[in-house]
Each structure stands twice: as structure tokens, then as C-alpha cells.
């Protein structure tokens, strides 16, 4: 506090004193020891209404006696300035929250407090925001905790408290997972380290041992460049969603089994039709004692027995699955083999079959037989698509690429393309657009081999505009496969 002397020296002209009182961004009132308001600024008047001849408690809180805990009273007694949160009523009768700064005014620095100046500011809006945030914090359907860098829970929202009780001071991993040590892949630890938001799937364990799936997001709780002392951990229970997902996958799997069985039945029906036909014709030939007719029927029988064998073999090789036998091979050489295999067929049908090989393609650990099967399936499909389209001139191109550690083979044709309905079905068992000529297993087998190599197959097509099938193999995964293969053969 400046001394009385200094105050004397710095005495401002009365109009400045008046303006100062008016310009302060507070509701300012000066009260005497009997709580009478003896002066106030315009802000105060605007906020609380008429005050002249009234006591402060009448104006602030519309009370007819002093407040139970009166901070100004305390300042009159001990001469200390103080700040307090108050709830009062504004001139329209609305409840208002404000912060009050109280300072003693003394004529004589060593004497008693003559007046008290009360400087208040409305924080109702801030308060209501705070309340809204609190509600938000408490009611969001996620578990929110603030943890310190020892992973101890400092604060938790209502949803968390309802589920886990008041466990402040305990470590998050003890509560979520009944663990004694920090979780592996802990996103909070990462956030403490790099100050960034991290996300991770975690599986919690309840008291009864039940598993809960969570998505956990952690964010730093620090201002500016401060060291991160706390992290907000938000865990969303996705057990139900996970369960639904699994149910959908199971339903799809069952549907796929159903489709497989239906497809198999369809293929068998076609073969049966052939066998019946052969039998009918043989029996007719026997009746007529016509060797030629018998021979014709017999041929049909033989052909359909052969078809049965092919179907069973294809089906078994599809169903069996084997680990790819990886060898270091040049992918471009594999493509050239296919070009040589199909060039005559393509030429006959007036299809321009060519290879566009990336010279940068390096050797890769692939199962040459498997990739051969894939390329054969894709190229023969592409040629069929060209033959089936109305277009006079068609091309089929096989491209290789080796970029960003991904090796890819791409088979593009300018045939009829596929509409959405067909595209949806191409990877389903026994689906064929080739009538009796296809088993409907080609693309499915191709996808299977690609997946066994750790890769994926992507289809782009538009009806009338051809199709592009791209097989992508991340080299990292191919190497892992090669390692496994070496290990197995060692």
C-alpha cells in the first residue's frame, strides 16, 4: 500500500478521480462501516439499480440484514483485501454470479478502515459455461479421467465414477485392466512423451473377469510449452459394436457358406443334366441298336465324368489352402510366361495382348505357381471379357510396378466391364458370367493366393469401359513369408 504521503503527492484532479471510478471495468461501490453505500459508479447502478440511501446487502442480495458471512465486515476488522465468489440478484431479480474484490480504504494509514471498496464483476456467463462443460464432462457416454505422469487418476467424470467408483489416486491400468503394470501400447505413455493425441484399441477386464473393448484416446493437458504433467484419457466402450461386427462377419460367413453350397449345387445340377442326357441317349441307342447313337451318348457321359473330376479338384484346391512356396523370382519373367501362353489365343480373337514392364522391378519372394495361377485367371478373364464385348478392337495389358515397397501386377482390359451387381458378386464362390464354361472359382482362388502372399486385390470397372484388376504385395509381408518358408524348409 502506498503511504498517505505518497497519496497526497499523487492526488489527481477531482474530474480524473471521477472518470477513473467510472471507467474501471467493474461494478464499484464504496461502503461505510454500517454497510451504507456512499458512492458507486455508473456500471454498478446499471447492474444493481438504485443504491442511494441503501445498504450493500439490500442492493446485492435483496436481504434485510447483513449477510451471514460478510467479507467486507472481515476487511473492516483486519484491514486485509480479499476476493470472493458471491451469488446475488441483479436489478431484474435474476440470480447472478460475481467475483468481488474487496479493498480497505484508510484516511490514516495507521488508523482503522474507514471505508471498503467493493469491485464486483459478473461471471454468470462464465459460470454457466463452466456448468455446461461440467455436465458435458460428466454425461458424455465415455469414461473420462485425468491422469498424472504416474498414471494415477486425478479426476474422473460421472460416467467413470458410476462404473468404477471413486478411485482417485489409483492407477488407470489397475482399474481398467486389473493389471499391476503399465499396459503394452499405452497411448497415455506416448502422449506424455510426445505431447500428441494418441488412440488405441484396448481390452479391459472387469472385477468379474468380463472383457470390455475400449477405444482409448489420450490428449495432453498442458498449456503452451509447459511439460506435460497430466493427460486426459477418454475410453469409449465398444464391446456392443464389436459384438455386432462379429455377428455380421459370422452372418456373412454363413451366407458365404450358403452361397458356396448353392453354387456347388448349381454346378452339380449342370453335370447331372449332362449325365442324364448321356444315359438317355445311350439307352435310346441300345433300344434302336444304333451304335452311333450309343457312341454319342457315351461321349456325353465321359465328358461329364471329366467335368465332375475337374470340379472336385478345383473345389478341393480352393478349399484346402497351402502355404505359398516362395522363391526369389523376377516378377517380370512371370508376366512374360503368361504373355507367351496367351499370345496365340489373343491374336486369334483380334485382341492386342501386351506387357508394360517396369524395368525397376526387383526380384521378389513369390510362389511362382501361385502367381502364375493368378495371372492366368486374370488374363483369361480379360480375354473372355473382350470376346464377350461388342467392341471390334480390344486390348489386354499386364503391367508391373515396384514403388514405395509395394510390388504390383495389374491386368487391364478394354472389354465390356462389369456393372455394380456383377462386381459385387465376382469374389463369391461359383459365380460365373460364362455359363457352363466357368466354374466360378477363378477369381476366388486368385484372391486367396494373393491374400496368402499378404497382398490384396483391387478391382476397378465400369460397365462398357473394361476392367482393371490390381494385385498389390507389400514387400515387407513378402519377406516375412519368405522367412517363414526358409524356416520351414530348413
Amino acid at each position: 500500500m502506498p503511504s498517505g504521503k505518497t497519496r497526497q503527492k499523487r492526488a489527481l484532479p477531482p474530474w480524473v478521480q471521477y472518470e477513473l471510478l467510472q471507467q474501471v471495468p467493474f461494478n464499484v461501490a464504496i461502503i461505510d462501516r454500517d454497510y451504507n453505500i456512499i458512492e458507486a459508479n455508473d456500471n454498478f447502478t446499471e447492474y444493481f439499480g438504485k443504491w442511494r440511501g441503501k445498504k450493500c446487502y439490500q442492493v446485492y442480495k435483496k436481504l434485510d440484514r447483513p449477510c451471514d458471512r460478510c467479507n467486507s465486515g472481515l476487511t473492516f476488522e483486519d484491514g486485509q483485501a480479499r476476493v470472493s465468489d458471491e451469488v446475488g440478484v441483479d436489478q431484474h431479480g435474476r440470480q447472478a454470479h460475481y467475483v468481488v474484490h474487496i479493498a480497505p480504504l484508510k484516511k490514516n494509514p495507521d488508523g482503522p478502515v474507514d471505508y471498503v471498496v467493493e469491485m464486483s464483476r459478473d461471471v454468470t456467463e462464465t459460470k454457466s459455461w463452466q456448468q455446461e462443460y461440467q455436465i458435458l464432462f460428466d454425461r458424455v457416454p465415455c469414461y473420462i479421467t485425468v491422469i498424472d505422469n504416474d498414471f494415477r487418476i486425478v479426476r474422473a467424470n460421472e460416467a467413470f465414477r458410476e462404473r468404477f467408483g471413486d478411485v482417485r489416486g489409483e492407477r488407470c491400468y489397475e482399474i481398467y485392466k486389473r493389471r499391476k503394470k503399465k499396459c503394452p501400447r499405452c497411448p497415455a505413455a506416448k502422449t506424455f512423451k510426445d505431447g500428441k493425441v494418441h488412440k488405441s484399441d484396448q481390452v479391459g477386464v472387469s472385477k468379474t473377469g468380463a472383457r470390455t473393448n475400449y477405444i482409448v484416446t489420450t490428449s495432453p493437458l498442458a498449456r503452451g510449452s509447459e511439460k506435460i504433467a497430466h493427460v486426459i484419457e477418454i475410453s469409449t466402450d465398444i464391446t456392443e459394436t464389436k459384438k455386432l461386427e462379429e455377428e455380421i462377419i459370422e452372418a456373412e460367413r454363413l451366407a458365404a457358406v450358403g452361397q458356396t453350397v448353392a453354387g456347388l449345387a448349381h454346378s452339380i445340377k449342370n453335370i447331372l443334366m449332362g449325365l442324364e442326357g448321356g444315359k438317355y441317349i445311350v439307352s435310346l441307342g441300345l433300344q434302336k441298336e444304333d451304335k452311333e447313337v450309343i457312341g454319342q451318348g457315351w461321349e456325353i457321359l465321359e465328358r461329364n465324368f471329366e467335368k465332375t473330376t475337374t470340379l472336385v479338384k478345383d473345389f478341393l484346391s480352393f478349399a484346402k489352402g497351402r502355404l505359398p512356396q516362395a522363391k526369389m523370382v523376377n516378377p517380370n519373367d512371370l508376366v512374360m510366361e503368361i504373355i507367351n501362353l496367351y499370345k496365340v489365343v489373343a491374336k486369334k480373337s483380334g485382341i492386342d495382348l501386351r506387357a508394360e514392364l517396369d524395368p525397376k522391378v526387383k526380384k521378389a519372394p513369390l510362389d511362382p505357381d501361385g502367381i502364375h495361377t493368378c495371372l492366368t485367371n486374370l488374363v483369361s478373364n480379360a480375354i473372355d471379357a473382350c470376346q464377350m464385348s461388342e467392341k471390334k478392337k480390344c486390348f489386354v495389358t499386364i503391367r508391373t510396378k515396384d514403388e514405395r515397397d509395394v510390388l504390383s501386377f495389374e491386368v487391364t482390359d478394354s472389354g465390356g466391364g462389369m456393372d455394380y451387381e456383377i462386381k459385387k458378386k465376382i469374389f463369391t464362390t461359383f459365380f460365373t458370367t460364362k455359363g457352363g464354361q466357368g466354374t466360378g472359382l477363378g477369381l476366388l482362388t486368385t484372391r486367396k493366393i494373393v491374400q496368402e502372399h499378404g497382398g490384396k486385390i483391387i478391382v476397378r470397372t465400369k460397365e462398357g469401359e473394361g476392367a482393371r484388376f490390381k494385385m498389390e504385395f507389400p514387400r515387407k509381408r513378402l519377406l516375412a513369408l519368405y522367412g517363414k518358408e526358409k524356416h520351414n524348409t530348413a
Binding site: K269, L272, M273, E276, Y280, D384, G435, Q437
Partner: protein, 142 residues
């Protein structure tokens, strides 16, 4: 005069089989292994009945069926869909053609066929072949 029955199926064995049955039962069978050839055959030979398979390369049997039913010249020729896609009782034509202006086929026969039933349906739809009545059905039993 013998009734002409056109069979459109991409399977040569099916064509041989059905052709043999039809011939044996006094019909004049015509065959086509694509929808395109089937259409040409209809235009040239004006068959009394058409049998169409559903799953065929290039153009499906459903597409050929729709084209025939939309053609004033041919819409009255009875058509039998003959396929393995659905069981006889479960074939729903509207799963394939939602356009209500296209009427459903006269019959659906499931593959593999039963010869006697097949012949009976053909007789019904064509009013019987000239020689069918005297032959009293097929002699070659399944």
C-alpha cells in the same frame, strides 16, 4: 406338320440331350448355343415353342427372353425357362425381371429335367406333336 421347338443353351451336351428327346417325341428341334443365334433362329424359323437357359455367356437367357417378349412379332410364342438356378417351386421370375410389362414365362423347368414331365410340358404348350399321340410318350426311360 411337326412342331418346331427351339432350344437355346450354351452347353452342347444339353443341346444334344434335349434335341434327342424332342426328335424322339416327334418334334423338329432347332438349337442355338448363344442368345444372339437364338434370336436369329427365331426370326428365320418362327418356332412354335422356345426353351431358354438362363446362365449363358455374352447375353443371358433372361435378356433374350425380354427381347422376345418386347417384340410384337414374337411375343406370343410360348417360352419355357430351363435352368438349374432355382428349384422348380422356388423360381421367382420377378427376381430376374422386375419390369411388370414383361409377362412371366409359360413354364419353368429345373435342370436336371425329368424326361416324362419335360415331354408332357412340351406337348401341353404346343398342343402336342403330330406323332406324339401315336407314340404315347417317350420309350427311353430315365
Amino acid at each position: 406338320m411337326e412342331k418346331k421347338v427351339l432350344i437355346v443353351d450354351d452347353e452342347p451336351d444339353v443341346l444334344t440331350y434335349l434335341t434327342t428327346i424332342l426328335k424322339h417325341n416327334g418334334y423338329t428341334p432347332l438349337s442355338a448355343h448363344t442368345a444372339q443365334l437364338g434370336m436369329e433362329m427365331v426370326e428365320r424359323k418362327k418356332p412354335d415353342l422356345i426353351l431358354i437357359d438362363i446362365m449363358m455367356p455374352k447375353e443371358s437367357g433372361i435378356s433374350l427372353y425380354t427381347r422376345l417378349k418386347e417384340d410384337r412379332r414374337f411375343k406370343d410364342i410360348p417360352i419355357v425357362i430351363i435352368s438349374g438356378v432355382a428349384q422348380a417351386g422356388e423360381f421367382n421370375f420377378r427376381d430376374f425381371v422386375s419390369d411388370k410389362s414383361i409377362p412371366p414365362p409359360e413354364k419353368y423347368i429345373e435342370k436336371p429335367i425329368r424326361v416324362e414331365e419335360f415331354v408332357r410340358i412340351i406337348d401341353e404348350l404346343t398342343g402336342g406333336s403330330s406323332s406324339a399321340r401315336s407314340k404315347a410318350g417317350s420309350n427311353a426311360k430315365r
